[in-house]
């Protein structure tokens, strides 16, 4: 592997790698398997193994490569076949037993198996409707290049922004470019990145640090994971540029422990960058040294909060500090520190390469550029998407997400994780930007979007988040520690049908106290799920309290399972699987549930093939 001794060596290397890749692409077949965590969960490893086996048995020459997440998680495992320099034909939901037919028809007979094709990908993904309204900038390489290959990253134009920054720009110029672009923090709070860097540069200190926050703790969010797994070099390149701009010689990437593949790909990418001379001393021949290390989190949601994260890097318990000083002045080991989300860092090379004006040409007045989101919950096309800021929620849910599957009706979309809120159907035309979401009682957050339908109880959702926060509150300040526990008590009473209307006022009062009096951002935003559901779904709270019913049929104390005698065929499946032996009946005769014994586990409802088990 050649160490790059000067900036001038990068361009010829890129051209050389591009030529190499082109030559090998022209003359060969490339089979790409999506091997992000989503792909692996859906069974991509087994698919990969079967493909290898088939190729060997039939003696077919093909280059196998793995890529990160392309975004179409609902279609995983995804297998692309590219012959020569033709388009990549993407097969979706590939099961091992589908592989022989694909190999036989596509590779041996030259016939694409149209039944299983999701679309054709050239340099972009225009052919696939899922991508119509997307604008893949940060995700440009995800699912396109092998994240384990720095060569593929360089061939796709990687590290050109670094070369440009190091040779043609002063640190001040880099910062002004980032400021002019209007880039705001992608971790959720949306602080202007250029300003943050400027304060770090200007702050007094012996040393400076750059830190990437990859501690994606929000339940329901996996954008950062997909980015770290799928294009680790983009994050690293952004950090090197940032470090040069603020004068840092040491950097850290904090990755949560639950993401082993992200840690693996980032570690490999750092190693490769060192070998190429893109990290270390005199980077690209310029008198500038930097090394970046990975710090693994250990399972604490609060460590996504900047001051807690830095405590954790120092080897201390991840408790937030009061913000008398910003991290830009006194961050890691009390030295000036630029801490940004991994997605923010990955935007930096784009801005340097294409200019601030290009970046600012998409998005809204105050929220520039694109944002990645992940769609999950009751939505047809679950996945990892990137859209220009200002797109409406409706476009995301329906045009990209394909709406709610089955007979469900859209009820709400939850954004911003436990710090965010639930936005109801009549607000679907809301433009997605930092400020509109805040106004609607939610927040951008890191980008999780969970769609909920009429089978989701909003009181249960509020209770879920508060229960989550009860476990995750670090306990340092009492408003958050105690307030959340009390809110949980009240919410539990409501879901169990034991509350009265005065409890709602108390809940609201408590929520506002926690909001006002907590120490860190997580505590201050902890009541958001409660306040937003109270604001938009008060009727559901009242149904639980006044009518003692759960309209969505979720809260156990308020529902019962029953068997429709007309629909029941007496097959006996439910009574066999009932853990309580609460279901009885003669064979081929309608069965019945003994409500005294029933624990409402819902297994009968799941196993019934005749829709004979209902909830009321």
């Amino acid at each position: 592997m050649p160490e790059l001794k000067s900036v001038e060596e990068l361009e010829p290397l890129r051209d050389h790698l591009q030529r190499d890749l082109k030559v090998s692409a022209k003359s060969s077949t490339r089979i790409t398997v999506g091997m992000g965590t989503c792909g692996i969960s859906a069974g991509a490893r087994e698919v990969m193994r079967v493909i290898r086996e088939e190729l060997r048995e039939r003696d077919i020459e093909a280059r196998m490569s793995t890529v990160g997440c392309m975004g179409m998680c609902s279609r995983e495992p995804l297998v692309d076949i590219q012959q020569g320099d033709g388009p990549r034909v993407a097969y979706g939901n590939v099961k091992p037993d589908m592989v022989p037919r694909i190999i036989e028809e596509h590779l041996m007979n030259g016939q694409v198996v149209d039944d299983w094709v999701v679309g054709r990908v050239t340099t972009r993904c225009e052919d696939i409707p899922f991508y119509d309204k997307q604008q893949r900038q940060v995700m440009r390489n995800c699912g396109m290049i092998d994240p384990e290959s720095i060569e593929e990253y360089i061939a796709s134009g990687g590290y050109q922004a670094l070369a440009k920054a190091l040779t043609t720009m002063t640190p001040r110029e880099i910062i002004s470019e980032i400021k002019a672009s209007g880039l705001r923090g992608r971790g959720g709070a949306g602080f202007p990145t250029g300003r943050k860097w400027e304060s770090t540069l200007e702050a007094e200190g012996d040393v400076r640090y750059v830190v990437a926050n990859g501690d994606e703790g929000d339940p329901g969010a996996f954008m950062n994971r997909s980015l770290m797994e799928g294009d680790p070099h983009a994050i690293i390149e952004g950090m090197i540029i940032g470090a040069y701009a603020i004068g840092a010689n040491e950097g850290f990437i904090y990755v949560r422990d639950e993401y082993p593949l992200a840690v693996k790909n980032l570690s490999l990418a750092l190693e490769q960058a060192r070998e190429y001379g893109l990290l270390g001393e005199n980077i690209l021949g310029v008198p500038f040294d930097l090394d970046i290390r990975i710090v693994r989190g250990a399972g604490a949601f609060v460590c996504g909060e900047s001051s807690a994260l830095m405590q954790s890097i120092e080897g201390k318990v991840g408790e937030p500090r009061p913000k008398h000083y910003h991290a830009t002045e006194r961050g890691l080991w009390d030295q000036p520190t630029a801490l940004n989300n991994v997605e923010t860092w990955a935007n930096v090379p784009l801005i340097i390469n294409n200019g601030a004006e290009w970046f600012a040409s998409s998005g809204t007045e105050d929220s520039k550029g694109t944002k990645t989101f992940c769609l999950a919950g009751q939505i047809t096309n679950t996945g990892y998407v990137e859209v220009p800021m200002g797109i409406t929620l409706r476009e995301i849910v329906y045009d990209i997400g394909g709406g709610v599957p089955g007979d469900g009706a859209f009820k709400a979309i939850q954004t911003g994780g436990p710090s965010g809120g639930c936005i109801p159907a009549d607000k679907l035309d809301l433009a997605v930007d930092y400020d509109s979401l805040l106004e609607a009682g939610s927040m951008m957050g890191s980008g999780g979007m969970i769609v909920m339908d009429n089978h989701t109880c909003m009181v249960d959702v509020a209770r879920y988040f508060v229960d989550f926060l009860k476990d995750e509150s670090c306990g340092k300040c009492s408003p958050c520690r105690e307030g959340i526990r009390r809110m949980l008590k009240i919410l539990t009473r409501i879901t169990e049908g034991d509350a009265d209307m005065a409890d709602l006022d108390l809940l609201e009062e408590l929520a506002k106290t926690v909001q006002n009096a907590s120490l860190c951002g997580l505590g201050k935003s902890a009541p958001n799920p409660v306040l937003s559901t109270l604001r938009y779904f008060r009727d559901e709270y009242e149904a639980h309290i006044k009518d003692k019913t759960c309209p969505a049929g979720v809260c156990r104390a308020l529902i019962e399972y029953y068997i429709h005698p007309e629909a029941c065929t007496g097959c006996g499946l439910c009574s066999r699987d009932c853990p309580q032996d609460a279901i009885s009946g003669e064979r081929k005769e309608p069965h019945a549930i003994d409500q005294e014994l029933c624990i409402k586990c819902g297994i009968c409802h799941d196993v019934c093939r005749f829709d004979a088990v209902g909830v009321r």
Binding site: C38, G43, R45, M452
Partner: protein, 182 residues
């Protein structure tokens, strides 16, 4: 389990004996022993020159550490928002019933530990269950129980010989996702 101080020192020696490496050292010890033995905590404190109480504090603050030995198979049921909405809690309950333990506990034979975790980041394929770092997508209570039964059965069969490899829906036990490098 015997804890050899020599091995603990080897783990610590992979890093410089500075406080900032405390988390990484504890993570490596946890991977080695499946929990944090008391002797290991004491040795880490001594080597790093940090009070034992501080190391204990780290070990109890972060959720991925355990002070008790975990089972051979660690079943993590995701209760992230998407998995919650899609029925994750019911999967956890059915596994609690199947294994006769509650979330956070280990079966008396040391075979299974059951954990409720908040988001594994595979939300698009929920509900998700992860067993020994191998993720399973679109799980149902029924499928989760069958998976655990299959593992238990394979253990019974393998009693005569060692059973290092875990049977899996996806088989092909590629260890790449279980990387410990950092």
């Amino acid at each position: 389990m015997t804890v050899e101080l020599k091995r603990i020192n080897e783990i610590i020696d992979c890093y410089s004996a500075e406080r900032m490496h405390a988390l990484a050292i504890l993570q490596d010890i946890q991977r080695e022993y499946n929990f944090l033995p008391r002797e290991a905590l004491e040795q880490t404190a001594q080597r790093l020159g940090v009070p034992e109480g501080e190391i204990y504090r780290l070990a109890t603050f972060f959720k991925s550490f355990s002070l008790h030995p975990k089972g051979k198979y660690v079943c993590k049921v995701c209760l992230g928002t998407a998995c919650h909405v899609l029925g994750g809690p019911r999967i956890l309950e059915s596994l609690e019933r199947e294994l006769g333990i509650e979330a956070g506990e280990t079966t008396p034979d040391g075979m299974f530990s059951l954990e409720a975790v908040r988001c594994l980041g595979a939300c698009a394929l929920g509900p998700v269950v992860v067993i020994n770092e191998e993720p399973y997508a679109h799980t149902t209570p029924d499928r989760a129980v069958k998976l655990v039964r299959r593992l238990a059965a394979s253990e019974d069969e393998a009693e005569a010989g060692p059973a290092d490899e875990m049977p899996s829906i996806q088989s092909a036990a590629d260890s790449s996702s279980a990387s410990r490098s950092a």
